[in-house]
């Protein structure tokens, strides 16, 4: 069969091919997505923190940082994957792709490392739940909502 014949021919070259593929991975694909400033991070008024570094924002939204400096639990809320705002947030603030974020959340949730963020259905729902939940954090389109607790992101 053709596929089996292909496999046999590959076998002769396999070890020589796999190593170059790893070297390519090591050297080539290190490009980064450019950051923009149209998305704002905001939190519940109980959160004492007023600014975060870009690295801290990533740690929070990837579940690697789960408590505020005062010990309060961080509650992360996001919109669904197909939301344009969520896609823009992933790209601009995290410099990641939504599917990549899902992968990290699933690995964390199902290996005992913590909980994935809670998804909500609409921007209004996102705003409402963050305003009501101690320790909550989420995002909005710049200028779309007047909140007293915007978090400044330092680059």
């Amino acid at each position: 069969m053709a596929v089996h014949l292909f496999i046999r021919q590959m076998r002769l070259r396999a070890r020589h091919l796999l190593i170059p593929i790893l070297i390519i991975l090591l050297t080539v694909f290190t490009g980064r997505l450019a950051a923009a400033e149209s998305i704002q991070i905001f939190a519940h008024r109980s959160v004492a923190t007023s600014s975060l570094t870009q690295s801290e924002v990533r740690q929070i939204f990837t579940g690697m940082k789960q408590h505020w400096p005062d010990g309060q639990r961080i509650r992360v809320f996001v919109l669904a994957d197909n939301s344009d705002l969520h896609k823009a947030f992933c790209r601009e603030k995290l410099q990641m792709f939504p599917y990549q974020l899902n992968r990290i959340w699933d690995q964390m949730t199902y290996s005992g490392q913590g909980d994935a963020p809670t998804r909500v259905g609409s921007l209004q729902e996102l705003i409402d739940i963050i305003e009501k939940t101690d320790g909550a954090i989420g995002y909005i389109q710049e200028g779309s909502y007047e909140t007293t607790k915007l978090i400044e992101v330092q680059s």
């Binding site: 089996h4 046999r8 593929i21 991975l25 990641m96 599917y99 290996s111 005992g112």
Partner: protein
Amino acid sequence: MRRILPVVMPFCALACCSTEVIGQEFSWHGYLSQGVTQSINSRFITDDESITPELTEVGFNGHYQLSSNISVAGQVVYLDGGNRFERGARLDYLFLDWELPEIAGWQSYVHIGRFKNRHWLYSATRDVPQTRDTAVLPQSVYADGFRDIALGSDGVHAGFTRYTNEHIWEVNWSYGRSHINKAQTEYLLGTDAKGRAKQDFVHQASVFLQPSAMNWKLGASWLSSDFRYEPAAVDYRFAGDVDFLRLMVSALYFSENWELSAELLREIQDAQGLFTPTYEEKRRGEGGFVQFRYRFTPEISGLIGYDTYTHDVSDEDGERLFVTSGGAVPPYFGYMDAVVLGARWDIAPQWRLQAEHHWVDGATRAVSLLDRNIASHTEEQWRMWSIQLMYWF
């Protein structure tokens, strides 16, 4: 009971000692998955090579936050993979997660109990269908024959992470042991083994580097483990031990529409006793895989992968294996190469349908090389396929 106690005791001790409980912070999740599958020209999945529903994975996990830096996490799973591994329920993990104070920019944690293997790309969530690229993972690295040993161990795992503006460094270390069940004893020593195989320890370490955007990940891992065999009063096997060393490099890359993953490994196995009191064997196995996934739309993607493994690099075509076994083990059990094609459809949030077809040449990871009926177990060229529906919450 003696196996459960070392896992449960740390939790009892902690429950008594914890003084800063911050309320009932419990969450739970789960997944259910059912598929149909078949191996053709091989008994890798079923004895009669029929289409079978023996592709079931169910899991429930809980996470309880005891204090701001201490939590408990556990997961139970039920698995049915046909002949690939032992069918039944398992305690997948149950550990105490202790987040340590940050030192010199390094965040760290310790897991005590039954912890997950976090040293390879897919090892921590190997039983979780929606986190894998394929139902049957590349057998070079994730051989199903000793799957339960590689999942995790009872002992201690420590993780250290350092975030800089440009990169994330992750260092893992673990030390523990796993229970070896009957199926794995037979995989290692054949069905003639009537005694008990035990793992003395498994010691692992790994280091990973990612950019801050996490769009690629490179890592290297080391594993050292010792096994010993205690024969039964009447047994065809002798007392003996096996030293096992694995070195591996891992790589992962995410792009907007495609992703690439690869792992390469070298294994050194040194066996003494077991088959005769003076038996000695040392082998070096090598292999690895590369997988490419392309996302046609956010919901639909396709996968192509290549996987290769040689049981002993000094006997690449398996001819010496054939001769030393007196002709009982055909040469193609000395290697195994596979090409896989897969498709994935995310039907709705938390629902996925995944299909795959593997074309395989050789059979070294298909069955124990000590199986009495090895020659009729798998033909030189064989195939397997599966379609799996999964839901998670």
